[in-house]
Assembly symmetry: C2
Homo-oligomer: 326 residues x 2
DNA sequence: CTGAAAGCGCTTACAG
DNA sequence: CTGAAAGCGCTTACAG
């Protein structure tokens, strides 16, 4: 079926294409009357202007790129889904759509293609890995972008939970219980560095830490190492690590809290229903995505925006903290 | 900075825009020599044609829509991420990008907008919920689409795991153990209906089933109801249900396999590391996404494709099946 | 307030 | 094989 264009509706109404366009965009001078008549007619026919043509005329795409890790690093956590939804919600509200761009390790070729093909007006980065050239590339292209997460560079607009403060807060609840250890994840991830920092601030320089626990076996190894150093409480850097650890505890009949205290720096429905529930930190990732997208849109509109936005957290399952929370 | 166009490179090389275009697309007659010269020059300058302009000229967008549920139904499983990655991989290979479209309950307005604005050439639907008007809408618009999942309508191109066969297979491993019960999820989901069917085929008409266990408490209620009916083995329709159940068992000190056998119709890294590991079904969702996208691309190219593609599954943790697997 | 015309960057018949 | 021209569907100065 032939698609109808503004030319069709113009001739049907006996006006010019220009007037139709003005009715649609609201730009330029046009009488309320003819505008209403045109809009009304379009509504009846359920006409929608072709966005591609608008894009070409305006040199804007009404698309925003959102990065997700490629197949290797995807993981089993729904982080990216949640963030994506937040970004999507805000984008759709403003007439923008989200284009997904996969990033495999340090390979940013997909982003290059999308940017250089002129398919997006801006980008939302999720979870920055230090060392890939993404940020430098986007800056060199002068394309607006916002990061959900943390980057060392202070000139990058970023939105994140305050992991350092949150981890310090939850860790400090256990400092009187005895020695505390930390099972850390991938050391390259910026977010893990922030969590580590919070842990150190509360637990002190001598508290034992094991990095790069990325699967069941390395978690078990880390846990045993910490126990060997006399840890009374074990902090897990995220919910996956914690779940692995809990599954090991259950297998070995190690009791919480009698034999060890467990803490997680990241919540999960799994930890909520564990018995006993594990104290953990909750961040609203969907909200962070929405805020990031909002900042991006405002940047694209030329408004000034704060460089660093830190969203709050919640402390879950205080009841499981010996002595309770403050 | 002024963006460079094919006109720029044409004049720089002393040829016409038409030749440059022919060099890019490979369409039309052009000598190997000038083609190579043009391509070479473009490479050096790292020139990429503006896709938006190509879209308008070709009346193609090189975009594919991928649906995800909006914030209410998102859930804690990474299903959509995984599927999305598969779709993305295949799309990118073929020069297409993925546009994310959220669907909230029965509200398909976002899809309408994207389609009627002419922003996509085709769509990949994930997880169909019977009753929303999505399929009917897309058919009425005549836009090509493929479903990852199952729909009742035989004229829809669909890709899915063979849940019915898989659930029948795993259920039948427990039929001699005694009475089997099933904890079901949302009854409206097509995939759940398929799983139910497989369960029925293996367990028989009299086996007890409880539907709509959607959170910890309803799962516990369902579990107790089945036990009250004398179930020796309990099948969980997915990994979330199963994890909730396991967490209840652990709390109540109910032992596997002494007190009850547990089975899950959907795998998860959580079940893998549970002690003992829970027999479960594994489907490669990323692959399903890739296959769906491939079928869509072929449909758009006018090739005939099979209406229904059923991908295989794996049976995980047979060792936990009493008597082992066949 | 309204229309005719040029332009966004590319493609593709149509003539050479 | 190559170029000049028209066209994809919309927008926006520029004149009325």
């Amino acid at each position: 079926m032939k698609t109808t264009t503004i030319a069709d509706i113009a001739s049907a109404l006996g006006v010019s294409k220009a007037s139709v366009s003005r009715a649609i965009t609201g730009n330029g001078r046009i009488s309320q009357q003819t505008r209403a008549r045109i809009l009304n007619y379009m509504d009846e026919r359920n006409f929608r202007p072709n966005v591609i043509a608008q894009s070409l005329a305006n040199l804007k795409t009404y698309n925003i790129a959102f990065t997700v890790p490629g197949r290797q690093e995807f993981g089993e956590i729904p982080f990216f889904q949640k963030c994506l939804i937040g970004v999507c919600e805000k984008a759709l509200e403003n007439g923008y759509d989200i284009l997904v761009v996969t990033v495999d390790g340090d390979d940013i070729s997909h982003m290059r293609r999308v940017v250089e093909n002129g398919k997006v007006d801006g980008v939302v980065l999720s979870r920055n890995v230090d060392g890939d050239g993404m940020i430098g590339y986007l800056q060199s292209k002068g394309i607006p972008f916002v990061l959900v997460g943390t980057a060392g560079k202070p000139d990058v607009v970023q939105v994140d939970g305050d992991h350092t403060a949150a981890c310090m807060e939850i860790t400090s609840l256990f400092t009187k219980a005895g020695k505390i250890g930390l099972i850390g994840g991938n050391q390259r991830h910026a977010v893990n560095q922030n969590r580590y920092r919070g842990f150190r601030q509360a637990a002190g320089q001598s508290a034992p830490v094991v990095w790069d626990a990325v699967d069941y076996h390395s978690v078990v190894g880390a846990f045993e190492a910490l126990r060997a150093e006399g840890a009374r409480a074990v902090c897990c850097m995220d919910d996956i690590i914690c779940t692995h650890a809990l599954s090991y505890l259950s297998k070995m009949n190690i009791n919480i809290p009698r034999d060890v205290e467990m803490v997680s720096f990241y919540s999960s429905w799994l930890l909520d229903t564990h018995s006993p529930p594990i104290p953990s930190l909750y961040f609203d990732v969907r909200e962070q995505g929405a805020v990031a997208c909002d900042l991006l849109l405002r940047t694209m509109a030329g408004e000034p925006v704060p460089k660093r936005t830190l969203k709050g957290h919640e402390l879950l399952h205080c009841a499981s903290v010996p002595g309770g929370c403050v």
